[in-house]
Symmetry: C2
Subunit: 303 residues, 2 copies
């Protein structure tokens, strides 16, 4: 007997999903798949191609990363300069720490012959949080131990208090590694969260984007065996073939084919509720709660 653990139905990425029958009871509980199938085209947005990176690893594995100029404008700009200089081409994934982060950059960064940052800045002021005016803020109904309010702004998970708002360290979020100085993370060394949300990093380091496709190429890499998960041998690293700005590629490259469900859409709000209380034949005890980092941010291939 094959046991299914049918708990997390994969998001259907098909562009030809069928809407529920029109005579279905309007009050029937809906699953995420049903909500997506019934969503309107206007609820989906293209990726922000001028602020999106297409990263190609050795073997042609591709990850699409949407940057966030609303929360990290200076870091975003610096990364775009670096990408256009082809700074990342030929660099490598240098660190994979289990249940924490995958990190990439210049393996020679701490030697006396680092790759030149060219026209990019070597220091960028910390963008750990911004002022509270970051609306529209789609607030989760549930509380959060780390902040008075959590929700979504423009497709990203966000926390806020009375004064400020900040991106949060959910699975797939991308940040700019730094040393002890707050301004020491110019975006030439990036990391992505590959485990349980390390929310203690919130407001301590600049988050600058999220992986919207190809996360599995970053999360399933061999873990490094050196301190902090750094690889001990150069041969263990995964090479970066290229990092390009999507808007510079024909039709946006891999990013041009994607669209994301708007976090201000009615369907997104419906998904939050459907995931707070799962109602299907498998679930016996709906949770009545959802963690900010468990809310799915649906992405699909355009029809």
């Amino acid at each position: 007997m094959r046991l299914a653990l049918a708990a997390a139905a994969a998001l259907a990425l098909s562009s030809c999903a069928t809407a529920p029958a029109a005579d279905a009871p309007a009050s029937a509980p809906k699953t995420m798949a049903e909500i997506i199938a019934a969503s309107s085209a206007a609820e989906w947005r293209p990726l922000d191609l001028p602020n999106t990176l297409v990263m190609t690893l050795s073997g042609g594995r591709t990850a699409v990363i949407e940057l966030n100029p609303t929360f990290a404008p200076k870091t975003t700009t610096n990364i775009l300069i670096l990408a256009r200089q082809r700074y990342f081409d030929g660099l490598a994934i240098v660190r994979v720490q289990d249940n924490f982060v995958t990190q990439w950059g210049d393996p020679d960064g701490e030697t006396d012959h680092p790759k030149s940052l060219g026209a990019a800045s070597a220091k960028i002021p910390a963008e750990f949080f911004r002022d509270r005016v970051a609306s529209p803020f789609v607030k989760l109904p549930d509380g959060d131990g780390f902040a008075p309010e959590v929700g979504f702004v423009g497709g990203f998970p966000v926390a806020r208090n009375g004064q400020s708002a900040w991106l949060t360290h959910c699975y797939g979020m991308v940040g700019a590694g730094r040393n002890n100085d707050p301004d020491s993370g110019p975006g030439n060394e990036l990391y992505v969260v590959i485990g349980h949300a390390p929310r203690q990093l919130d407001r301590n380091i600049t988050l600058v984007g999220r992986v919207v496709q190809g996360m599995e190429h970053l999360s399933a890499l061999p873990r490094g065996t050196g301190p902090l998960g750094f690889y001990e041998q150069p041969s263990q690293r995964t090479a970066i073939e290229s990092v390009r700005v999507a808007a510079d590629l024909p039709q946006g490259g891999a990013a041009g084919k994607l669209e994301a469900l708007s976090t201000t859409s009615a369907s997104f709000t419906a998904i939050i509720e459907a995931r707070r209380n799962r109602r299907d034949d498998w679930y016996k005890q709906p949770a009545g709660h959802i963690d900010l980092c468990s809310v799915p941010l649906p992405v699909r291939t355009k029809s």
Copy 2:
């Protein structure tokens, strides 16, 4: 320049760590590494070898899994019967769904020629939660959106309300896959959490243990491309060479060398506080909070 993102210092597994200098101020904040270095031998416990599995994957990769007869007695017993029959030997990892679970069992389980369960039961009553009497309960100071109280019992993360207590779906926790019937998970198909804690599964499926060593051999496997992350081709599966009860191996095999920090120890309580508010040169804004699934459960090799 190599940027360190020094936020999560790896747990020092060395058995010869040096205690802090005796003239250090008694009130100085301590990091987890410092607390472990200063812990007493009596604060560490051996693994529960009669209820611990040593799973060896192809290539000799080994994972150690401590089962939990306090919360899942019938499922634990059934798994031990299966292991002693060598039921798992020659089976495979059949599913890896990114940010969710890795699952193993009989690839032919749903065909008409499944591997025999022998003396083990095909149905086990659901052990989704138990009565509240599961003490000593080391309670976290912080709230949790999914339960009135969360903390630790005997080395495992636990939630409870006024009536009952249950294991929680943190990274590395192992459960017994099931179909729609609550009693359809006898432990012949197991999964481990490899992503952000899917706490919505709590009280919906029997959790029966946790991976205490070798998690990286289960979390870094290629993701399956079929529905729910099942592998589409048999060749993509990772073979299981053997699953043994640690107590049946000479000196407990890989499990016999390990010891875990007792969750009732003063050092464990100190670690919780050190992780709620990290105080070192890197952190600028202590979180003042910790998520149940972010509390480390230290394991080390015996000296």
